[in-house]
């Protein structure tokens, strides 16, 4: 989740209250405070609220939450005569584009930085690393409309941002840091998208890089903003950027997008309306809200709302991307009302608790094991072939589960046996006092089925077969189960000192004295005995 840096200076100026109050209230708006620094507050906002990824957006929300400025903010949109033509060629590559003109901005170093950070957060989250959408800001004075969004051959060249020489788009992908980072987006395309002005000056090679020509600086007064992508969400993203800049004062102008014979006015900063029955608020939250409480709560979250005939008419701000239906609005009403103001109540639903059968059995087994002097351990279910098989002198068995994308050589598969982990545990503790007697009851996975096993080992200078045989007898005696034993051929154990355990004619486990080579493989040097059984089919 994105961590947004909020400089106190900006925040306090935009909101108009001291930082302490903001720090106190911000978690209740829906955020985790990550760090409180000397000069700024780092806050993690949720991925459903990209409109809060800038200090401007946060300031707008906080002003509502603190009742400094409630209700919707309406955006005056002037018409401009600027046009943008969308060439059919670009549609199979990156079909969507939203644009707008912003005039009379007063950029400072910090406000430019804030918008750039917002841009980056949106690229990462909503934009899925620029694949789904990417935003470009341009100095309008450097180019002349109308603009064209088209697709050109990779040999087409221009001067990309941060460079002073012309480069072909192909070179941009192989040499420019942004090209190297995001070039894979165009792996399967023979044409690349570009935004041009009326003199064929390049504004942008979206979503990779803008042209140096339109670089935005503190002197920039008028902006041209583009958002390109593979999803209509580009229009929402544009609204998030525009509403953020708007917080510091500016004038918004629309652009006419000509696409597939249609004229689209961009941006669309209108408020969509949703109508929700007042009962729905009451039943979902469980609070008997009055009409005015609902209105007040929604206004604190910067909605406009009015009630007619038990229906709440809610106006949704144009920068909200997350409102799919009534529930999303009701949640915001609850946040506006304050979670701490909701009187909680224990649910009266009557039911009788019941433990899982395996858990009931596990408890009995661990009672016996603890009684026999074994300490319980818990180990990882992720393991590797070496530990699972080689160190145990065991052949690889079919049915073990390998990860497609392991993160380390240590963890490449799921365990099919607990004993290797117990041996490893002993090796971690080899400098500790003996005897060491440990057991584990835990999940194993074979043939994609999750099963539960019990295993235990005992290591000390006098450990020998008779001891494990005694434990085996004690265990099955205690849980009232008859088993049959047969000579085993498990290579982890010593020939002539190992047995397979059968229950109802089915093999459930093995026990014996570990082969000296196994002990040594785990860097141990004391006799060790062990046993492992599957417990899924034991009926007690």
């Amino acid at each position: 989740m994105p961590v947004v840096s909020l400089p106190y200076e900006d925040l306090e100026r935009l909101v108009g209250v001291p930082r302490e109050l903001i720090i106190e209230k911000i978690p209740f708006l829906g955020a985790d405070i990550e760090r409180i620094e000397e000069d700024r507050l780092d806050v993690e906002f949720f991925p459903n609220r990209p409109d809060l990824y800038s200090v401007e957006g946060v300031a707008r929300a906080i002003k509502g939450f603190l009742s400094i400025e409630e209700g919707a903010k309406y955006y005056r949109l002037y018409d401009s005569d600027v046009e943008l033509n969308v060439d059919d060629k670009v549609i199979p590559i990156r079909p969507y584009i939203a644009v707008a003109i912003v005039k009379d901005v007063l950029f400072t170093e910090s406000s430019i930085k804030s918008i750039m950070n917002l841009q980056e957060h949106l690229h990462k989250g909503l934009g899925r690393n620029r694949k789904k959408l990417a935003i470009g800001l341009h100095d309008l004075s450097k180019v002349s409309p109308p603009f064209t969004y088209t697709a050109v051959s990779p040999s087409f060249s221009f001067i990309p941002l941060d460079f002073d020489e012309e480069m072909s788009m192909q070179e941009v992908l192989s040499r420019h840091p942004k090209g190297i980072k995001y070039g894979s987006i165009f792996e399967n395309f023979s044409l690349y998208p570009v935004i041009l002005d009326s003199n064929d000056n390049v504004l942008s090679f979206p979503p990779i890089i803008n042209a140096e020509l339109t670089r935005v600086s503190e002197d920039t007064k008028n902006l041209f903003i583009d958002v390109t992508g593979t999803d209509p969400i580009v229009f929402k993203a544009l609204n998030i950027v525009l509403s953020a800049i708007y917080e510091r004062g500016c004038n918004l102008y629309s652009v006419c997008i000509k696409r597939e014979g249609k004229n689209i006015k961009s941006p669309d900063m209108s408020y969509k309306e949703i109508n929700i029955n007042i009962e729905e608020f009451r039943s979902l939250i469980g609070v008997d809200f009055t009409e005015s409480t609902i209105i007040k709560s929604l206004k604190r979250l910067r909605y406009d709302a009015e009630i007619k005939d038990k229906m709440v008419h809610v106006k949704i701000p144009p920068y909200r991307t997350d409102i799919l239906h009534s529930r999303d609005v009701i949640e915001d009403a609850a946040i506006g009302y304050g979670y701490d103001n909701i009187k909680s109540e224990f649910p009266i639903t009557f039911s009788i608790g019941k433990s899982d059968d395996i858990e009931i059995l596990s408890r009995k087994l661990s009672d016996v094991m603890v009684g026999l002097g074994f300490f319980e351990v818990m180990t990882f279910t992720l393991t590797n072939r070496d530990k699972e098989f080689s160190l145990m002198r065991r052949e690889e068995i079919p049915g073990y589960i390998v990860l497609k994308n392991p993160i380390s050589t240590e963890h490449t598969m799921l365990r099919g046996s607990l004993l290797p982990n117990l041996m490893e545990f002993l090796s971690y503790n080899k400098h500790r006092e003996l005897p060491q007697k440990i057991f584990e009851i835990g999940d194993i996975v074979l043939d994609e089925k999750t099963l539960q096993n019990l295993a235990f080992v005992s290591m000390h200078s006098n450990a020998e077969f008779a001891e494990i045989r005694s434990y085996l007898d004690a265990l099955f005696r205690e849980i009232g189960i008859d088993v049959d034993l047969k000579e085993s051929n498990d290579p982890a154990f010593l020939n002539g000192r190992r047995g397979d355990i059968f229950y109802k004619n089915k093999k459930i486990g093995v026990f014996g004295e570990f082969h000296p080579e196994v002990i040594w493989n785990f860097q141990l040097d004391h006799p060790t005995i062990g046993m492992e059984i599957n417990i899924n089919n034991l009926t007690i």
Partner: protein
């Protein structure tokens, strides 16, 4: 009156000292005690000012193997001499060489040096050979173990000679001598041994024959700790898990359990996670090479819901890919799909997997608790009510609720508990399942759901700063960690913050 400060053993040692013994060995023999017991008692007596213990060192002579051999069979020169004498007092040298090949040179050398024989042409003629001091010493040393009685000055030459011949080695030996102080002498004289005849170890014989009647029992110092012992026990973390299980059962929940391997369908799609959601990346989730069949009855409904909610397309192939479950919510939704009629109250505690490198605050696998309630007329306030009750049962008194976000719940909440010294700690996630999650499975009533990162809770309750300690424990930690866990310990907040080890 017997002196309360003295034990029976101490009195026995005092009495033995009074009779003139000084060495622990002698005292032990004299008073029928073990040497260690004598020494131990002596140290106690020294503390009481009744004896002084002096440490002495002394040279101790030991025969080498060769020396021991000669001590019984005689020195080479003695053997040769005896041979010459028994053969008429004059023997050709060649015969001796033949007879004593192994030491003839040494033997002849010493015969000459000791003037026991002389060489005349090719003959050796025996002279007089009185028993030498060196021979007596050899004998004495082989008979007696204690070499201390030998007068070093008197036998100086012989000792040196034997040393040079490698028949003897010298060792520095330390030993202690116990001597009575003036006070000790007085106490020793006054003490009556029968007054101190206490019983230390009670034997079956003492009990059976009632030998204890009329006798005293040795008093022990109850302040002196004995050897530490530790009972075998369950894993501390397991005890916390069991406690959570117990609380859930008491609240009437049914425990469920399920597969570690899940299809993406149940792990993500059924929970309205868009197919391009970052959590579904190979970067964050462990994938397997296998696929699962999809439940036919739900596929179309899930597809519709995704297309309606997220736009674009929905790919059945992606839904089939198997993953290691990233949360146990996949089990909850499956259970609800199988039990669509109210009421349902279920919980699950199980391992979940995230593709994370191991460090003190991250693990690729850890435990998660998850619970759901589905019933008519349930609302958000009931969810808060449940969470309140749950955290209270775990011993956390101060609880607050913050808005949260999870892809499959709406409204969502993040409960926080207050821990002294740490402030508010986020400890779980909860919410009401979205319609997009419940509708495809025909679930008509609200589902309250919550999840808790049990490992984080355990770190808090066990006072751990390194989460690895739970799964790669030091056996001494397991031995020494008490069964009763005290209140949450102080942890470094940065560790807890970094522990992003749960989501709902």
């Amino acid at each position: 009156m017997p002196n309360q400060d003295l034990t029976f053993n101490e009195v026995k040692v005092l009495k033995s000292l009074l009779s003139g013994k000084t060495k622990p060995d002698d005292i032990a023999k004299d008073s029928n005690m073990k040497v260690e017991t004598v020494i131990q008692s002596a140290f106690f007596l020294e503390k009481k000012g009744l004896v002084v213990i002096e440490e002495h060192t002394e040279e101790k002579y030991c025969l080498t193997e060769e020396g021991l051999d000669y001590a019984t069979s005689g020195l080479p020169e003695r053997k040769i001499f005896d041979f010459i004498q028994s053969n008429g007092g004059k023997v050709p040298l060649s015969l001796l060489k033949e007879k004593f090949p192994e030491f003839i040179d040494i033997g002849i050398g010493w015969l000459k040096r000791k003037k026991w024989a002389k060489l005349d042409d090719e003959y050796v003629i025996a002279l007089d050979a009185p028993l030498g001091d060196d021979e007596r010493l050899l004998k004495e040393l082989s008979d007696k173990k204690d070499s201390c009685l030998i007068d070093k000055e008197e036998h100086k030459d012989s000792l040196n000679q034997l040393k040079r011949r490698n028949l003897l080695t010298v060792r520095e030996d330390s030993y202690i001598v116990i001597k009575l102080t003036d006070l000790g002498k007085k106490v020793a004289k006054d003490a009556k041994i029968e007054d101190y005849d206490e019983i230390t170890k009670i034997t079956p014989q003492i009990i059976r024959n009632k030998e204890w009647i009329g006798r005293k029992f040795r008093r022990y110092d109850i302040d002196i700790p004995s050897k530490e012992v530790y009972p075998a026990k369950k894993h501390p973390y397991k005890r916390i898990i069991d406690e959570i299980r117990e609380i859930s059962l008491q609240m009437g929940f049914v425990e469920i359990r399920g597969e570690i391997i899940q299809s993406s369908f149940w792990n993500f799609d059924a929970l309205f996670q868009p197919q391009d959601h970052p959590a579904r990346d190979m970067q964050d989730t462990f994938y397997l090479n296998s696929e699962s069949k999809l439940p036919k009855e739900y596929v179309d409904r899930i597809r519709d819901m995704h297309i309606k909610g997220w736009g674009g397309s929905w790919d059945e192939k992606l839904a089939r890919k198997n993953v290691l479950r990233t949360h146990t919510t996949s089990l909850s939704i499956k259970y609800l799909a199988d039990h669509p009629d109210p009421p349902v109250k279920a919980f699950c505690i199980g391992r979940v997997y995230r593709r994370e490198s191991i460090d003190p605050t991250h693990l690729p696998e850890f435990e998660q608790l998850e619970g759901v309630i589905m019933d008519k007329d349930l609302s958000f306030k009931h969810l808060l009510g449940y969470l309140n009750q749950f955290y209270r049962a775990l011993g956390f008194e101060k609880i607050r609720f913050r808005p949260g976000y999870f892809p499959y719940t709406e409204p969502s909440v993040e409960p926080e508990i207050y821990v002294e010294g740490l402030g508010w700690i986020e400890i779980g996630g909860a919410g009401i399942f979205r319609q997009e999650v419940t509708e495809p499975f025909g679930i008509k009533y609200p589902v309250l759901a919550w999840g808790i990162g049990v490992s984080r809770l355990a770190m808090l309750m066990l006072g751990l700063n390194d989460i690895r300690e739970l799964y790669r424990s030091d056996i001494d930690w397991l031995r020494k960690k008490p069964i009763c866990i005290a209140k949450p310990r102080f942890l470094q907040r940065r560790f807890l913050n970094a522990c992003c080890i749960f989501t709902l």
